[in-house]
Symmetry: C2
């Protein structure tokens, strides 16, 4: 009999206990071990819950029990989660976490600690909720050199953009609806400003390229500026505006991680990801293009990912070498955002096609002239920040003003 | 230094060697071991290839080398692949295979042999080519009780149906084009009659439900009867005809595996899977709905999956308990196809809506009346085989003839 413990009895933590108890027989068969959910750590009391007798308030009880081999961390935030997780790993207990903030900020330290104590620090639930992405990336695709990862990694913003695109709802109303449905927090900043998606692309980038990428190194722009009219015009050109968290490997060997709204072509499956669903597209030199899709959040979906990690951890007697990265104490391997280059969607004041062709060296055939005397088009060529700046200035000289601009995702 | 070997130097086998040599440094770092591609077994000579010096013609050389720990089987077919793989496992060498025919026919025996000799028999490449699906299913989703799996598991038929749907090409022309492009064999039977997809759903069913499902137990219907006009009318109703390999768990605890063309709603991502791409949708009680998408075949994509397995196998010193199933010597756990029930797409001779509503207990609002005096509609209710039979007879009494019928996929 091996004992499991859960830190934090909130939505995810209680989901882990619930799903474990529901499928206990199946889980034990699949991992070939007898398991018991022994402790649930929380400072609060939940006397009415069926597992009230497992609740403890002191982490030391879990640390001191040698039969506890695997611990789930579902508390969220950096502290006390970091201290608790580190203590568990130092006691040789493997940890599975759903806490993306913790992994993005402290992943390198915790992976190192796990290795030093011959146990594992897993975090499948920290990116894409229920979607299997961490293990596929470092195991199934271990033979690949990766060139790009692009994903819809935040369900709240995808829900809001979807309502704007499909139901002509403006940003404020869509956000209010998301809050009403419990998809957005009262303070929605972390979601709508892209911070949540940023943490997740940090984790995927670190894993795919082997070096810790911190949130501060990632150009991050949210969706609060996205106007309803751009979601509409973009759709008429055959694109959907999505908040895309992305990392690409450049020819100079550096990587360029970004989070920003981008125009995604309709025949790219990412453009078809609706509601609160998440999806991650991965490009590698062997696999080509592959995509993973599913629920990005929620009690049981997230619990499914945490338990999947715990079930593997109870079977391991050594640290997995593939799921790790180094802290290189430098951002030399990360390219500056000014190098980012892409075709662009534009909405400008009224402009003639000849002028636009001259300024941008060609635009795509379909352009839209609106009743409000605006012109909407997509450039044929890719532009980086400096080239973009020059083009905007050239337009200004002809009294054409840029009203909105989004880069186009190359899938 | 551990040695690897590849059986079969065809498209996949040579891809395994090529991708390994290309990313050798990365692969060694990820698995924490020094690896050498030591032997490639083939009866043919390939003197011009860079790895000609590794070619051997006698399996015994590989079996006798104690330094060979992991072998890839990329020969295809049942024999001699089965004998060779079994011998490797009996010698304690783990095997990774891309051979779905072998896994579907002999998986139970080979998994048992692997367990008896404390090594592993992996087969990520046998379903969905490059797509990570086997490992996600038994590891990432190990905490889930599965209720359904539905996939587009054959790229050739998806290419053909796609050409019919998107380019109005008839079946024969689309098949000829697939053959010209190398997507279809000269004898395309295994693909277009659904046998290939059948083997793959057998593997997924066996893994998800823990008991070996043989191809003979699966109702299998291919796409050679699909008429161009049905792909068109189905599209007008908001559905796409796709060859769907599926297994569902019924309320009586039995499973029902099927392969057949089905009408897939446009807002189901499976309907958006184009060309030779594959995709697999999995439903579990924790994860909800999740989907995996990518290249279903091809040299490097398949090699990526085989190598992913090999990289994990070199790190393991025991048999993984989660990736296995039993031979229960009975099909009691498989429901008969007569129990299959679904809403249906119909094309009939001219019929009035009132009659159709009477016979089917309601049809969906949108119906199409064609110039050829045919009527196209979708029923509101699900029908099993017996109910379908009764409905067809009731229509016949009113001189209405059924010209085509497809079940609708519930995602």
């Amino acid at each position: 009999m091996e004992k499991l413990a859960v830190l934090g009895c909130g939505v995810v933590g209680s989901g882990v206990v619930e799903l474990f108890e529901k499928n206990k027989e199946l889980i034990q068969k699949r991992c070939g071990k007898n398991l018991e959910m022994a402790y649930i750590l929380d400072l609060r009391d939940f006397p009415e819950r069926p597992y009230a007798n497992k609740l403890v308030k002191d982490i030391q009880i879990i640390l001191d029990d040698p039969e506890v081999s695997v611990v789930a961390e579902c508390m969220g935030g950096i502290e006390p989660a970091f201290t608790f997780v580190k203590s568990c790993l130092e006691a040789g207990k493997s940890v599975a976490t759903s806490n993306k903030e913790l992994v993005a900020a402290k992943g390198d330290i915790l992976l190192k600690t796990a290795k030093e104590h011959n146990c594992n620090f897993f975090f499948e639930a920290s990116v894409g909720g229920a979607i299997p992405i961490i293990r596929p990336l470092h195991k199934c695709l271990a033979a690949n050199a990766f060139s790009a990862i692009a994903g819809i990694l935040n369900g709240t913003t995808n829900f809001i953009l979807n309502k704007m695109i499909k139901e002509n709802m403006d940003f404020a109303s869509a956000l209010a609806l998301a809050q009403e449905k419990g998809y957005a927090e009262k303070d929605p900043t972390a979601d709508i400003e892209g911070h949540d998606a940023c943490r997740k692309i940090c984790i995927l980038s670190s894993l795919a390229f082997g070096k810790h990428v911190y949130p501060e190194s990632v150009y991050t722009k949210g969706i609060s500026d996205v106007e309803l009219k751009d979601t509409k015009f973009c759709g008429q050109l055959g694109y959907a505006i999505k908040l895309i968290a992305r990392v690409q490997k450049l020819e100079n060997g550096k990587i360029l991680p970004t989070v920003m709204p981008m125009a995604v072509e309709e025949d790219n499956l990412l453009s078809q990801v609706n509601g609160v669903y998440n999806a991650v597209m991965v490009r590698g030199d062997g696999v080509g293009k592959t995509m993973f899709y599913g629920r990005g959040a929620g009690k049981l979906p997230t619990a499914s990912a945490v338990l999947g990690d715990m079930i593997e951890e109870v079977q391991l007697d050594h640290t997995i070498p593939s799921q790790t990265w180094e802290n290189v104490n430098s951002t030399d391997f990360i390219e500056d955002f000014s190098a980012f280059s892409a075709k662009r969607y534009f909405r400008t004041t009224s402009a003639d096609v000849q002028t636009l062709n001259d300024v941008f060296g060609g635009i795509e055939e379909k352009t839209i002239s609106t009743e409000e005397e605006e012109t909407i088009f997509i450039t044929s060529e890719a532009f980086n920040a400096q080239q973009l700046d020059q083009a905007v200035k050239a337009l200004a000289q002809k009294q054409i003003q840029v009203l909105a601009q989004y880069p186009v995702l190359v899938s």
